[in-house]
Subunit: 195 residues, 4 copies
Amino acid sequence: MSIKIAIVYHSGYGHTAVVAQHVAKGAGEVQGVEAALYKAEDLASPDKGPWDQLAAADAIVFGAPTYMGSASAPFKQFADASSKVWFGQGWKDKLAAGFTNSGSWSGDKLNTLMQFAILAAQHGMNWVNLGLMPGFNKKGSTPEDLNRVGSYLGLMTQANIDEGPETAPISSDRKTAELFGRRVAEAAVRWTKGK
Amino acid sequence: MSIKIAIVYHSGYGHTAVVAQHVAKGAGEVQGVEAALYKAEDLASPDKGPWDQLAAADAIVFGAPTYMGSASAPFKQFADASSKVWFGQGWKDKLAAGFTNSGSWSGDKLNTLMQFAILAAQHGMNWVNLGLMPGFNKKGSTPEDLNRVGSYLGLMTQANIDEGPETAPISSDRKTAELFGRRVAEAAVRWTKGK
Amino acid sequence: MSIKIAIVYHSGYGHTAVVAQHVAKGAGEVQGVEAALYKAEDLASPDKGPWDQLAAADAIVFGAPTYMGSASAPFKQFADASSKVWFGQGWKDKLAAGFTNSGSWSGDKLNTLMQFAILAAQHGMNWVNLGLMPGFNKKGSTPEDLNRVGSYLGLMTQANIDEGPETAPISSDRKTAELFGRRVAEAAVRWTKGK
Amino acid sequence: MSIKIAIVYHSGYGHTAVVAQHVAKGAGEVQGVEAALYKAEDLASPDKGPWDQLAAADAIVFGAPTYMGSASAPFKQFADASSKVWFGQGWKDKLAAGFTNSGSWSGDKLNTLMQFAILAAQHGMNWVNLGLMPGFNKKGSTPEDLNRVGSYLGLMTQANIDEGPETAPISSDRKTAELFGRRVAEAAVRWTKGK
C-alpha cells in the first residue's frame, strides 16, 4: 500500500507550478510514497473534478501565489468548493502543508501560509511545517542558501517579476521545495503507520 | 463637495448584503457624506466595472463573508483584479476599512479582517478600525449588546446558519454596522479636510 | 513507555488555569498518556526551570490568555526563552497545539492561536488543531454547545470579565477543553507509534 | 503647536534601536513635527514611566524585533501594561504604525506587524502603513533598493545575525525607515489639521 500526497495548486505565470513540481519530486523520492499534482482550477466546483483522489490522499499540500496579500482567487475558489467536504469533515485527520511564491521577499507570503493553515484546521487536518533553519542571514551568506527567504510555517519562494519560470525561482528555492516535499511525505508515512 | 464612501462587498446568502446596507446607512448619515454599494462580482476583472467610482472615493470599505477561514472567492477575485490599480498605486492615501460575517462567533473572521488590512496596506491605504468596546462579556449581559462578537480591527457579525437575512444577523449587529459606517465616514471627512 | 503531554501555560486571573486543567484531564484519560502542567513563569529564562521535562515530552501544548490581542507577556517570555532550544532545534518533530481565553467572544483570540502555530513552526513542531465542528450557530442553539466560540486552529474559551474561575468559562468550554486534550493525546500516541 | 510622534520600541541587540532612530529622524524632518523615542522597558508597568507623553502624542509608532515569530517579550510587557489606557480608550483616534527587524528576510515579521495593527485597533487607533512599492525583485536589482524586504503593513528590516548595529541593517533599510517616519509624520499632520 502506498502513501498518497496530493498537491493542489494554482499558478498564474508558471513560477508556482515549478515549485509544485519540485515539492512533488521531493515527496516522490520517499519510499512507498506517490505524489500527484492537481490544478485548483479543476476543483473550482464541489461537484466536478478529482475530489475522490483528494479523499484518498494521506496528505494534501496547498500551493498558490500570493496575490494582493493572500492566496490567489483560483485557489480560493477551490478552498470555498471544499466546504462540501468540510461539512462532512471528509478530510479530518489527514495531514496538510502549504507553499507560496511571490515577487517580493516577504511580500506578505506569511499571510497566505496562515490562510492555508486555517483552511487545514477547519478541515481538522494537522499541519506539517517546513522544518528548515533559515539561510541568507549572515555576513557572506548568499541567496544560494536553503530557505533563503526565512520561512517556517510552510515553504516560501521568491521569483523575480521580470523572469519566467525557466529561471525563477532560483535553484536554492527549488532544492528547498524538494526537502519540503520530502518532509511532508515522511510525516505522512509516519502518521499512517501510527494509525 | 461631498465625501464619498465606496463599499465593495460580496454576499453569498444575503447576510453580508444586509450588513453592507447598514454600514452604508450609518456612513450616509454623516453630513456631507455619500455612501455607495458595489458588488465585488461587478469588479471581477480590471477592465470592466465601476473602477472609476472607486478611484473617486475617499474611503473604500471591504466586505465579505468568511468562507473556509478567509474572504469569499468572489471578493478575492475583486482583490486580485485590483492589482492593476495597485501597480499604479491609484488608491494610495485613501482610507480603508472592513467587515465580515460568519455563522460562528469567532469563525476565523479575524483572518478575513487581517486579509483586508493587508490588502489595504498593499494599496497604501490607511486603515480605520471599529472603535467600539466589546459587549456580551459580563454576567447578565446579552447578545443585544453592541459589538457582541468582540471585534476591533473591523466589524464582525454573526448570522445563524439556518436563518435568512430577514432575521440574521440580529439587530445589535445591524446597529453596530451603522456605528461602524459612521466612524469610517467621520474619519474620511477629517482625513479629507486635513489634506 | 508512556506518552508525555506537556502543557505550558500562563494564567493571569485563573480562567486559563482552569482551562489548562481540563485540557490535562482530557489528555490524561487517553490510555498510556501522562499530562503535566507547567507554568510559563517558571520557564522565563533559558537557564532555569523544567526545560528537561519539555525536552522529554511528545507534545507541548501552549496556553495563555489573549491580552491586548496576543498571548500574555509572561507566556511570551517563555516563548523567547525557548529560542535557546530553537537554536538547536531541540523540539523538532514533536507535536504542538494551543489554547487561549479572553473576555470577549472573538477578542482577537485567533491572533494568539496563530502566534502559537508560528512559534511551533519555528521549532519544527507539527500542529494539532481542535477538530470539532462549531456550535451555538443555529436557531435555538445555546452556549451549552461544544466549541460554542467557533474555533478551529486550537481551543478558544470565553470567560466573563466580572466572573472568577469558579464559574467562568462555563461548562461547555470545559468539556471542549477535555475533548481538545484528548485529541492532542491521541495524535501524540499515533505520531509516536508511527516513528 | 507641534505634532508629536512617539516611538515606543524594544531592542535586544541594538539593531531595532538603529531603525527606531532613523524612523525618528525621518519623522522629525517634517515641518512642525517632533519625534521622541521611548523604551518599552520604561513602560513595563501601567503605573510608572512616560505614559503622559504617550497620551500627548498624535501618533504612536510601535517597534520591536521579531523573536520566535512575534514581538519581543519586553515590548509585549508594554503592550499589556497599556491595557489600563485601553480600558479608558485613552489613545482612541490617535494614529499608529509599526516596524520590526529580524535576522531572516521573512522571519515571520508579518506576524509582528499584524500584532501591532491589532494592538492599535484595540486602542481605537487608525493604522498608517509603509506606503512604498517593494524593491529587490527584478533581474539586476540589488539589496540597495528601498523596501528590499517587500513589506506593506509597516516597516520590515533585516539584520545579519552575526553583524552588530554599526553595519546591520544596511543603508537601504535605514533610508526606508526615514521615509516611513516621514510618512507617519505627514499623516499625523494631516489627521490633526482635519480635526
